[in-house]
Every structure is written in structure tokens, then in C-alpha cells.
Symmetry: C2
């Protein structure tokens, strides 16, 4: 069955969208069929693939807000073996639309109910990767209710672990409440400057934090730090402005090599579930 990854960190600007786009592309180069879902009202993932939608174009908003819209109606092909459920800025209003379902205790399941229809079809994807917004609201909760693994992009700066701790609490609440199979797969070190004292101290603290969870009954008990760290590289910031992933834009740069290796790591470390 498909592996379903939520790429999440409530801290802004840490590399969630860059990781979703390039990890997804990297997996297609390893012959995986990948669907990405843009859960962010900023719609940056969609814009990375050159998709600037009008509010009338079918997108994630209608999929969540309108009962009769199906997942097949909103999916678009964006590359070889790569498709997307795009977002548009009206997604910011979807929480208001879901208010009736909040009252009936169903609002966290809207995405899962729609997407699970896809999981039984013969042309289902091998990977579903969800790009999440920098918040822990209803969109993030929907992502965590559908997902089976959480991948956490993290910039090794001051307060990174404080945010991680809060994120892990939220994941645990969702796992206990709605999604028993949910696990934290691990952390992707993004925009990494390995030769700085700050990064090495934060990584050391992160390793201790994860170590403390080993053997415990917590969803991060098997969480790893994925290899390799993704080095800071301006090409990664440039490629979306051309509507390309790093593999199309600058396939030999350090950013492409790092995300290629990350895709292999993720492929070979299925989350114990």
C-alpha cells in the first residue's frame, strides 16, 4: 500500500516545500509513482510546479469543502510519474467551511476520507507526500489523520528543538485520538551549515532528544535523522522561480545530490508500523 508522508514543521521557512518538491522528484527518479498534496494556503508547492490557479479551478479547497468533489477531479499531472493536488490562496477560508464538521467531530477526517478512495485503485501512487503549512491547525490535523509517517524538515538553529517538542506532542495527540498507525519517520536537516558550532550543538541536542524516546511508547521512538543533511545551496532557492525541481534545473549541484541521496534514504528506511 502507498507510503503516506506528512512533511511538517510549524516553524516557518525551514524547508518543508523545498523538501516536498525535491524529495518527490527524487523518488520518481527511483521509479516511484508520487502524488504530492499542497496543504498550504500560500500554495507555494503548487507555484513551484508552475501552477497558479484561479479560485474557480478545482483544487484542494473544493476537495475539502464540497462533499461531491472527488480526488480524481483535482489531481493534475506535473511530471513523469508525478502528480499534485494543488492549493490556491482561497484555502485560507477552508476552516470556516469545515465548521459544521468540527461540530460533528469529523473535520479532521475530510482529507483522509477523500484520498483513501484513491488507495484501492490499480493506478494508485507508491508515495503520497503532503506539504504542510507553518501552523498546527485544522489543515495540519487533516494531514496527520491521513499520513502514516511524519518527516520533519528542521533548520539547526536556536529554538529548533522547542518547536520539535511541541510538534511531537501534537503528533502524539493525533496518533492517540484518530490515527494509531502514525509514526514520526525522522528529521531532515535543511539549509544545513555543517561547519558551524551552532549547527553541531543543535544536532547533538537533537540526537539526545531522539535517543530519549527509544523504546518508549511514543510515535517518535524510531525517528531518525535522515542522511544526508541538505546543505544550504542557492540553486535550491532559484529552481522554483523557473517552475522546476532541482533535478531539472541544476542536476549536478550539491542540492540535487543531497536530495537524490535523501530520496534513497527514505526509500530504504520504511517506517516501522
Amino acid at each position: 500500500s502507498p507510503r503516506i508522508l506528512a512533511v511538517m514543521n510549524q516553524k516557518g521557512g525551514v524547508g518543508k516545500t523545498t523538501t516536498t518538491a525535491n524529495l518527490a522528484a527524487g523518488l520518481t527518479y527511483l521509479d516511484q509513482k508520487v502524488l504530492v498534496i499542497d496543504m498550504d494556503p500560500q500554495a507555494h508547492l503548487s507555484l513551484h510546479f508552475g501552477l497558479e490557479l484561479a479560485s474557480t479551478d478545482l483544487n484542494l479547497y473544493q476537495l475539502l469543502a464540497e462533499d461531491e468533489v472527488t480526488v480524481q477531479e483535482v489531481i493534475r499531472e506535473v511530471g513523469s510519474n508525478l502528480s499534485i493536488i494543488p492549493a490556491q490562496v482561497n484555502l485560507a477560508g477552508v476552516e470556516a467551511e469545515l465548521a459544521p464538521k468540527v461540530i460533528t467531530g469529523q473535520a479532521q477526517r475530510v482529507l483522509a476520507d477523500k484520498v483513501e478512495a484513491l488507495l484501492q485503485t490499480p493506478d494508485r501512487p507508491d508515495y503520497i507526500i503532503i506539504d504542510c503549512p507553518p501552523s498546527l491547525g485544522l489543515l495540519a490535523i487533516n494531514a496527520l489523520t491521513l499520513a502514516r509517517e511524519v518527516v520533519v524538515p528542521l533548520q539547526a538553529h536556536f529554538l529548533a528543538l522547542q518547536g520539535l517538542s511541541k510538534l511531537f506532542e501534537t503528533i502524539q495527540l493525533i496518533q492517540q485520538g484518530f490515527n494509531p498507525k502514525l509514526r514520526v519517520g525522522g528529521v531532515v536537516l535543511c539549509m544545513h551549515e555543517a561547519n558551524t558550532i551552532l549547527a553541531s550543538e543543535v544536532v547533538a541536542d537533537l540526537m539526545n532528544f531522539l535517543e530519549a524516546g527509544r523504546g518508549q511508547d511514543v510515535p517518535w521512538a524510531d525517528a531518525v535523522i535522515y542522511e544526508p543533511p541538505i546543505r544550504r545551496n542557492i540553486k535550491l532557492a532559484e529552481s522554483p522561480s523557473f517552475g522546476k525541481t532541482i533535478f531539472e534545473y541544476a542536476p549536478h549541484c550539491a542540492g540535487a545530490r543531497d536530495y537524490e541521496r535523501l530520496a534513497k534514504s527514505i526509500l530504504s528506511t520504511p517506517t516501522a508500523s
Copy 2:
């Protein structure tokens, strides 16, 4: 009367907190008396100054949620001529507390009503600088209702201008609705990598964008790009982990020189209002 600056950008991780802390400190070195306000439920500004509060310690939450709490009760000294209204993570719940005032159309004025009491006192600050969260919700609206100038930290990457455009629309709505004197002072280029094509293209687009507003009846008609850009410098990321501003931590590094020059620029470019 005090200059009141809102440091705002709904994009996460672009340098708002780093700019608030170091611009404030830089202004105190120019003999200004500065009050900073931490409007972010993540409370990063407060943590930068070493203030990790319990929910029972008086902070911005009580100032906004409880009618009888005064601004003097929540202000704390953190340096020479530098004080703070700190935040604590319970600030995330304040929007629920303000719901009755939303209904009476007063919820955007809660901060302004409390802080304006301070503006008439003989020991009032020369500058009030508000660190805003990465969102355009009720906390940001309160900041824009109190402020007279908006300072926008911006990372010159893809989609920076899209976010700026949306921010400017929001500022215009608040200016027209609640705060006629509100102006956009300008943009601070943060984490700037001047020798990259991406940065130079985004800055060129930014200059055109601001040029298009000149002479128009818009709050950004006189907005500038402040000099100098703040260069990427790991010392700026390290200093908060020591509870220090850059001037205490590494006073001769490029980050300190850049924020010192920015403080001088802001001091000498009062917003036309």
C-alpha cells in the same frame, strides 16, 4: 511622540525577530529609549532576551485578555534603555479570549488602548517596536492598529514579492478602516546574499514594485529599501542562544555592523505622516 514600528511579514523565518531584537538594541546605542512588544505566541523575542515565562507570569496574554491589567504591570527591563512586553505560549489562546470584543468591533484596538496609556507619561519610550507572528490574524491586526509605521523584513527569494503584495493589501485595509496614519516605512533585506542572481532579480522586482506606488494614495507610497541589507551571518543565529543581542555577543562581526547601520538609517528616515 514615540515612533511605533510594527515589524511584520506573514512569511515565516524571514528575520522579523532577529530584526526586532537587534534594531531595538542598535537604537539604544544611539541613545534612544526603546520598548519592544512580543506579539508572537512562539515567544521567540522573549526567549532571545532570556525570558522564559510561566503562564502565570504577567505577559502580553493578560494585557490583552484581562481588562484590569495595565501595561506598566507587564513591562520588564532587559537592558539599558531597553524594555519588553514579553509573550508566553499561552498567547496562542488569546484570540478565543477576545471573541466577545470581535463581536462588538473592538478586538483590533485592545493593544492600542492599553499601550496608548503609556504614550502620555513622562518616561515614555522614544521607540516602540512590535515583533509580529507569521500570520495576518487578530494579533497582527492589533499590531497594525497601534503602529504608525510598518517595517518589513524580507528574504530576497522566489515568492517574496507575492507575500509582500498581500501584506500591503492588509495594511491598506487597516489604514482605511482603523488607523489613517499607518504607513509602510520600508523593507529590510534579511539573510541577504548580495552576490547571487536570485537576490539581485528579486531586489530589482522589489524596486519596481515600490516605484509603482510613488505618488499614489497608498500607505507604501514612500516605502524605501532600508540601507544596508543585513547579510547572512551565523553569529546572528548564535546570539539568541546566549540570550544576547549581536552587540553584546559579537560587536565587531558583519551582523553587528549591518544592524548598527540599519538603526542609523531608521533613526534618520522618519516616515512622512
